[in-house]
């Protein structure tokens, strides 16, 4: 029976190890999903960010870029794009801005979360700089214009004529005040 006992123990160890690996795999799905999104543009996550070399604009195509601002549930700020739509040539670098105002009587911190549709277009929208890279703080009754600099890749598929870029504004004041750090900078830069 001892041989059987050893056989059982080995098998159990292997299976337990398998279970632990799958538990880890559950967590590994989080970064894997990000990679997957980057490749497929799933969910309209913008992954191309940072400085870019200047390029010749492709003036043969006009892309309509539509801007949307959304307030998440209890976010009382006034928040809207300064322009609803702009017409852009692929390769052309364009500056845009969102207006934000804190109408309450207290200082608040906000985080804007971008999203793009159609999802296939996400990987062709390159953000050189964006207010969504950082958290935004406004004192009571203060307002500001938040800039956004972007380029549309010339490789954008021919059937896409309109790209919608939305920002959802989240109130993160309570989370910050309880000492919870949202995330580190490296993570934020992928937004």
């Amino acid at each position: 029976m001892d041989a059987l006992g050893r056989k059982n123990r080995r098998l159990v160890l292997q299976l337990v190890l398998g279970g632990i690996l799958m538990f880890g795999f559950g967590f590994a799905l989080v970064p894997l999903y990000d990679v997957f999104c980057r490749i497929t543009g799933l969910n309209g996550k913008i992954t191309n960010t940072g400085p870019i070399a200047a390029e010749e604009a492709d003036t043969s195509r006009d892309i309509r870029v539509q801007f949307i601002g959304i307030n998440n549930e209890a976010m009382p700020w006034e928040f809207r794009p300064t322009l609803n739509t702009v017409s852009v040539n692929p390769g052309e670098m364009r500056q845009m801005a969102y207006f934000a105002r804190n109408p309450t009587s207290a200082r608040m911190v906000a985080q804007a979360i971008p999203s793009v549709t159609p999802a296939e277009a996400a990987q062709y929208l390159h953000k050189v700089s964006c207010f969504c890279f950082d958290q935004q703080a406004l004192d009571a009754d203060e307002d500001m214009e938040m800039p956004l600099l972007f380029v549309i890749d010339k490789k954008l598929p021919a059937d896409i004529h309109t790209i919608t870029l939305s920002y959802t504004l989240f109130d993160i004041t309570p989370r910050l005040s309880t000492g919870q750090i949202i995330k580190d900078d490296t993570q934020r830069s992928t937004l």
């Binding site: 959304i70 009382p76 004041t173």
Partner: protein
Amino acid sequence: MIKRVWLLPWIGLFLSLPAKAAWEVNITPGATAISREVYDLHMIIFWICVAIGVVVFGVMFWSIFHHRKSRGAEARNFHENTAVEILWTLIPFVILIAMAIPATATLIKMYDNTDSDIDIQVTGYQWKWRYQYLGQDIDFFSSLSTPREQINNEAAKGENYLLEVDNPLVLPVGQKVRFLFTAADVIHSWWVPDLAVKKDAIPGFINESWAIPEEPGIYRGQCTELCGRDHGFMPIVVEVKSQADFDLWLADTRNAAQAQAAAASEEWTLEQLMERGEQVYNTSCAACHQATGQGIPGAFPALVGSPMVTTDIDAHINIVLHGKAGTAMQAFGAQLNAVDLAAVITYERNAWGNDTGDSVSPQRITELQQ
């Protein structure tokens, strides 16, 4: 949780239900080219399934009838046949390919990216929809208009029970409408069967879909993603109008918005505010705080005798305008106009024996919002 007096009105209402043809058994062919294509696809797949079912169950019931011991059937001794087994692996495979071809074609059509005529942003809230016509300066909320009494069986149910809203989404016929879906709290899902559009509205993310309604008419749908307590009470009503009627509606809606703004600068008496406030309360607040203002213990606080409602007027205005983070209390500042906000706050401060005598003017709200 369990209501005590339920049996009698229940039986009474059952008898008084409108006699409506209610044995609908199939999906609607709908009002767009895509919805008809989906309907046809659905029927093709359905009949293929029926055909396979008839063959398989036919052989099965034939065996059950003929190869039973009571009829003296003797079991034969075969238990494998490679040729047959390969055959019935391949045949389903071929049938599946036949199904996949039209399905793929329809799906590709649905993902069409050609330019749209109107873009409408659809935002899901707990538990209503907000429609913003992008670039048209039109922005409104659409919530259930069925009275609470009908839901609680205290009044006879109307024809469009639970499928009626205060402000329907209005679309022009024959135009390509592009919908942009998102949500402000949890995930919702916007479904209008006649347009064959069902898309999740996800907080922080944007999704799109489109439709070209071909027939004027009223099309009804519902939220299809569990989004909390009143998930079953946030219907969608789409009114498709001719281009002329649609333009008329656009003008009217813009005028109404201006009239609303003008009303905010008028003087309102306590009685006027109370009357209006009760209506606003019942559509926007009663779902949680209850029509009696008693709330639901443990979930939604009572407004009757609440210190905020009976004394601290600034805090009261603040919470109605800006909501309370981390709770179900939303920011109504963006959802209601100044008159409605003033009215509902006044109503809460004077109804159910709160009797503070306070009257909040629309001007006060407008000032705070500037």
